[in-house]
């Protein structure tokens, strides 16, 4: 006997799998994302009532599309009569296909395209970065507004406003589903990669926090990156991004200790890194790298792979990592890359060469507002035996960070500097 709770979970499960396809089916007939999301949401609400009572239908997608289409037609009609003006949308008449027909097979190429096309819509250039991320979670990952709001620690009404605004922006920009032409596609796919990367980083950063979130953003990002990789198996950067996520997420469980304090990479329990994730990430990377177009996600994944494959922190091939960061600095220069290169060079060739890499950043007013500049400087100064300067840099970094775990970590380093009896290796 299936309990009510298990049924709820089952409905949620089916919904998460089917929602991009339901939404895609609606969007093909009626271009407005807000209307289609509303209709899809009503179909979900109907499913939540009917399925536990009558059982999950044999073709849940067909069922959901049918119910949602009816709602959409009603909605468009109601709008028309209410406003008594021409509504500039294609009437919600299905193009040939019978919405009540059983859903397509899972290996149908249209299957993977639904999610890709939705993702492309959510990563439209008219949207801000945070709107792209929120809309992607809502429309592509199928999270509820409540879940998206919880993931970003804002009230549901605030997130609701953000999502409405994003949909309105798409409407104003005239964004349509399945509209991206071949000329525009590379740039739009690159934007999707950036959004998924941002989503992953957001989740990875949040996972250090004490509160266990209902929804793991890193898991969502991996799921979406898997989908993108399935849609575009020959896109080496999409492969690289998925590899990077897997190789990074493999360490997720070891970056905070029992007391909730941050554990730096060198001190993490490598035995607890997720070996299956590492193996999958490495395999993906080995598949993509020989193709020659080595972009930034592949390079970052390669760096993560060097860490993942080192048996111990001491045995890390820092020369290799320095080289990869140098390539990354050439391919996609940014202050953050320079910062990481300074760490790698410091490990490979000693603290003074590392500090030399850091120097230009310390002269950059923007980077002087960033605590990590001083955190990296502090580590290098400490290793160089320049204690007074290290103390000052740790204190500056600790003052500047907005992260409670990082501030605790930096304050602990500072305290250890003044009380060497507590000094252990990193």
């Amino acid at each position: 006997m299936v309990t009510g709770r298990a049924l709820e979970a089952l409905v949620e499960d089916v919904w998460r799998r089917e929602s991009p396809h339901v939404l895609a089916a609606l969007l093909r007939r009626h271009g407005d994302l807000a209307d289609c999301e509303d209709a899809a949401q009503e179909a979900l609400a109907a499913a939540a009532v009917q399925w536990p009572r009558d059982g999950v239908p044999d073709h849940p997608r067909g069922w959901l599309v049918t119910v949602a289409s009816r709602r959409l037609v009603d909605q468009v009609r109601a709008e028309r009569s209410r406003t008594a003006r021409e509504v500039a949308v294609a009437v919600a008449e299905p193009h040939g296909a019978d919405p009540t027909a059983p859903s397509a097979d899972a290996d149908d190429p249209a299957e993977v395209d639904d999610s890709l096309q939705l993702l492309l819509l959510c990563c439209h250039p008219a949207l801000s970065a945070s709107s792209k991320v929120a809309l992607t979670l809502r429309a592509v990952a199928g999270l509820s507004t409540t879940q998206v709001a919880a993931a970003f620690l804002v009230p549901e009404t605030t997130m609701g406003q953000r999502l409405s605004r994003a949909r309105a922006t798409l409407r104003t920009a005239g964004a349509r589903f399945v509209e991206v032409g071949p000329a525009e596609l590379p740039a739009r796919v690159a934007a999707c990669l950036d959004v998924l990367h941002l989503l992953f980083n957001e989740g990875y950063a949040a996972s250090a926090g004490a509160a266990l979130l209902d929804v793991s953003l890193t898991a969502e990002a991996v799921r979406l990156a898997r989908g993108l990789h399935a849609s575009l198996p020959d896109h080496d950067e999409a492969t690289g991004l998925l590899a990077l996520m897997l190789l990074t997420a493999a360490r997720e469980g070891t970056r905070v200790d029992a007391a909730g304090d941050l554990v730096p990479l060198a001190a993490q329990d490598r035995g607890r890194w997720d070996r299956a994730m590492v193996a999958e990430g490495v395999a993906l990377l080995e598949e993509a790298l020989p193709h020659g177009h080595v972009g930034r996600f592949q390079l970052q994944a390669a760096i993560a792979a060097v860490h993942a494959e080192a048996p111990s922190a001491e045995e890390t091939d820092w020369r290799q990592i320095s080289l990869l960061y140098a390539m990354l600095a050439e391919r996609a220069p940014s202050p953050a890359v320079t910062l990481n290169r300074a760490v790698a060079v410091g490990e490979a060739f000693g603290p003074e060469p590392g500090l030399a890499v850091l120097d230009p950043l310390l002269a950059d007013p923007t980077m002087r507002r960033h605590h990590r500049t001083f955190a990296v400087q502090a580590h290098l100064l400490e290793r160089a035996g320049r204690r007074d300067e290290a103390r000052e840099a740790y204190a500056t970094a600790a003052r500047m960070t907005a992260s409670i775990p990082e501030q605790r970590y930096l304050n602990a380093r500072l305290a250890r500097l003044d009380n060497p009896s507590n000094l252990d290796e990193r």
């Binding site: 801000s128 009230p155 605030t158 605004r165 970056r255 941050l262 554990v263 992260s403 990082e406």
Partner: protein
Amino acid sequence: MKYVILIHSNPQPWGHPTGDFIAEQQALPTEQRRAMNAGFEAVLTELSERGELVGGEALADPGSARLYRWEGGSPVVTDGPYAEAKEHLAGFFLIDVESQERAEEVVRHFSGPGETVELRPTMTVRAEEA
């Protein structure tokens, strides 16, 4: 990025919006006060519509506070105000915006003569790789 906007003020008598009870603002030409209020209302609406306003409250008279201070191993309770300061915390807003620049652009409209408005980032439990 989340910030609090803290309104430090001393309206006489205590009241909200604080600007209505501050001599420096009462002394301004009516047109200017109206324009300032309209600017503030417009920004508040915009924050709300853009999904940037997380919350906020106006605070009661500082005299209504109860203060807990430890003496001899237990808290001793007295009546407010907390300090005989020129200004008191009169209210706060919590915003979540894309950048420091956006926060600074917004917060200008919360300020007025005779008051101090403080923009302060909040701390988070997020952490990059240490």
